[in-house]
Subunit: 105 residues, 2 copies
């Protein structure tokens, strides 16, 4: 079963997890390209988002693999743009490594 | 290619996205059961996390489907516990609906 849309607008006080969810939506929306009712990132926008918002990850990217490889991996439907769903797949990959570092810290 | 662990400790100022990542790790860790070096949620802990941190989602759960169905869906390896990776799969499902509401707001 798919959950119904998660609405914030009517609530003032958000939990820590809701605040984090809201922030992730805000960040994606800040960099994405809005065409009609689709909001997606092209390669330059993904690069800008990563450089500004995930500097640690951006530095790793220079060492191990390029933006092109990352973009191809994340662009699951191959439309040369990154949807929010595809962005969250990337985000999930990064946050899992983040939790490993968090637990060891 | 898998990214290396994403470390925060040495950085003072986090970006909005890093702050959100850090908060998600913190919330999971607050509710999880630490046994040796595994950190997982049992069903009561997942329920408590959802009730406290995703109240909107908790209300939906009462209407459409039960915690048991959710737990079974999320517990991909069937060990009756929710790892961080499995939790992030649930989180991804919820945040995608959240973004739909965000764009329409």
């Amino acid at each position: 079963p798919r959950p119904a849309p998660y609405c914030f607008s009517f609530r003032e006080e958000l939990s820590m997890l809701e605040t984090a969810m809201f922030a992730i939506c805000k960040v994606f929306h800040k960099y994405c390209n809005v065409e009609g009712n689709t909001c997606k990132l092209k390669k330059p926008e993904l690069k800008e988002l990563i450089n500004n918002e995930l500097p640690q990850f951006a530095r790793q990217m220079q060492d191990s693999w390029t933006l092109d490889q990352l973009f191809t991996n994340v662009d699951e439907d191959g439309d040369l743009q990154i949807s929010f769903q595809e962005f969250i797949t990337l985000f999930s990959m990064v946050i899992v490594t983040c939790y490993k570092a968090y637990v060891h810290d």
